[in-house]
Subunit: 357 residues, 2 copies
């Protein structure tokens, strides 16, 4: 693709770390963010990967994100905890919360942590995969600001509220479903605007809730399966807003514009120790068998095969770990501006900022 | 609606009980089935209500359902248990399993029970609502036989694998989402066949996996949100088949024809004690506020309002508790045949079998 430069993930990691050092963010707060963003880009999920770095740094400088948080866990039962994130980075808060859930699950089979006073947590898969890589089932949810129409409604109410579930599998990285409960994401809509491409019917609606295909007219996203996706988004909202006493739907402060206002997002993280239910090797073998059986099915016309959630991400990861992460011209420009504003010498990162070979 | 007779739920309950007595089924096994089917019909979910009684009785007589099961709970941790249902009625097994989950949750915050060697469990909402009516979050899942196309595939692999979640709400029955992960159910397809009505695009596919709108040509259902619903069905399959070591997808024995073969279905039930996370009155008040805010939104063109999951069912319940449950001519015919085969005197149930006024 034109205008893309492939950059080794360790080069990116070094630059990312330097940006956090420049804003006096301590490593225990920044490392989960650095690794989460880079892992997400390695997995091919460009919407939630490295492109978010400048936003997160600016959010910290604006006061939205607190660089000196008092992170406070509270044990609610032997299997449940809550975390007051005190407006630290969402990825950091959710990482700590999932670690806590995993630790409770390893003792008592299940662990569940809610997070409040948090902010954008990147890709939900980061946290569900943490559990699955320790042979547990991982679930992660977050609320987000209003973009999706309720079924029958005119105006957006809930966000794209992602549903994420991961499970371990023999001989390969876990199965992992990380999906928004809307048909497409806001990012995808913006991409279609940029290239003036018509949306497919059923993806979006105009300002009075009428379905439309013109991306410039579209003002709201539609949920998957009409009333089903809408109510599934509501389930995520209950877990993230109501269990945590955080604002919901239209009362959540917007991700954009970035004005320093705190987000007060809530997350819900759960880990379930598979071995309590089933011998782990048997579970993982059967998981492998189930996924391979699906992958070996004859494809329908117009498809080249059947895949399962996380297959495209695993392929991307294999490729990008070797060839590097594609950085777009726009991302590069944003990174360069970020470096300049933080007085980081771009010449220290020639593989990222130097001339393309 | 023509050919419908409204029958008081207690009349139906009395007749249903008699059918179970006639096959020598003890009340502790039959009561959950009787109440589950009748509650489901009261809630307006006719596909999973009273119409299933003859099927369940025949399943017991065929040997598929075991009337003398050795139900065996096994504690897997203080918050986890499994239940060998030994082929009792699915509704009975899942009711016991949810009671166990609720009991664990009331002590330790979360309870989770898997069920194996089970069979059709009726409407998933029955069990999730049990938890929600005790101020807990309730989740219930089951696997089902292959009817839904994997995204990109030609042949059905997973079932309609329902996802069900319920949460308590101030001043009204709980919020409850009970949805198949396919766009429509097989029942709906059959209904369209019966009335020779065209399906909507995106609902079903023909025998080579090509989308079609002719209900007589349709051989498979499509998942909601294409790859999203398909993978969400896979999540349900992992919880119900892999945690329990039960068969999955195409290896699950069919509900029809009823040949005495045992089903070996798996279920997954979870209860989460809300009060551990949040003062219960605050949670329920905010739940009410959230739902009412959605309901008061201006509707889009072509809609008469915004509703939330379980609203139609609550309305049906209010109406049917007073006016009775509508029994179709076909259901009545099936009940009459059932009574005859069990040597039950239909004259004992005049309000059900007598002449319509």
């Amino acid at each position: 693709m034109e205008g893309l430069k492939n950059v080794n993930d360790n080069i990116l990691r070094a630059f990312f770390r330097q940006t956090f050092i420049s804003i006096n963010c301590l490593p225990h707060l920044s490392e989960p963010v650095v690794n989460g963003l880079i892992e997400t880009s390695l997995r091919g999920v460009d919407s939630h990967g490295i492109r978010l770095l400048p936003h997160y740094i600016k959010a910290a400088l604006s006061g939205r994100i607190n660089l000196d948080p008092r992170l406070a866990f509270k044990d609610l039962s032997i299997t449940m905890a809550s975390l007051d994130a005190d407006h630290t980075f969402g990825i950091t808060a959710a990482t700590l919360a999932m670690n806590k859930a995993i630790s409770m699950a390893s003792q008592f089979g299940i662990g569940c942590t809610t997070v409040f006073n948090s902010t954008h947590f990147g890709a939900a898969a980061i946290f569900a995969l943490m559990a699955a890589r320790q042979d547990m089932l991982g679930l992660s949810f977050t609320n987000t600001d209003a973009l999706v129409l309720p079924y029958g409604g005119k105006k957006p109410f809930l966000g794209t509220n992602p549903f994420c579930f991961a499970a371990p599998c023999e001989g390969e990285d876990p199965f992992c479903l990380d999906m928004s409960t809307s048909v497409i994401t806001w990012n995808k809509l913006q991409l279609f605007r940029a290239i003036h491409k018509q949306l497919e019917p059923g993806w979006a609606a105009d300002q009075v809730g009428k379905m439309c295909t013109d991306p410039h007219v579209a003002q709201a996203l539609l949920p998957i399966g009409s009333y089903k996706g809408y109510n599934l988004g509501l389930v995520v909202e209950v877990l993230c807003s109501l269990l945590t006493n955080m604002p919901y739907g239209p009362h959540i402060s917007r991700m954009f514009p970035l004005n320093g206002e705190k987000r007060q997002l809530g997350h819900f993280l759960m880990a379930i120790d598979v071995s309590k239910f089933q011998e782990i090797s048997l579970f993982k073998q059967r998981m492998k068998q189930l996924l391979d059986e699906l992958r070996s099915m004859a494809p329908a016309e117009g498809f080249d095969g059947v895949r399962v959630a996380n297959d495209p991400e695993k392929e991307a990861c294999l490729q990008r770990s070797v060839r590097g992460i594609p950085v777009s011209q726009e991302e590069l420009k944003n990174f360069r501006e970020l470096a300049q504003s933080l007085e980081i010498d771009v010449r220290d990162y020639p593989a990222l900022f130097g001339e393309m070979k």
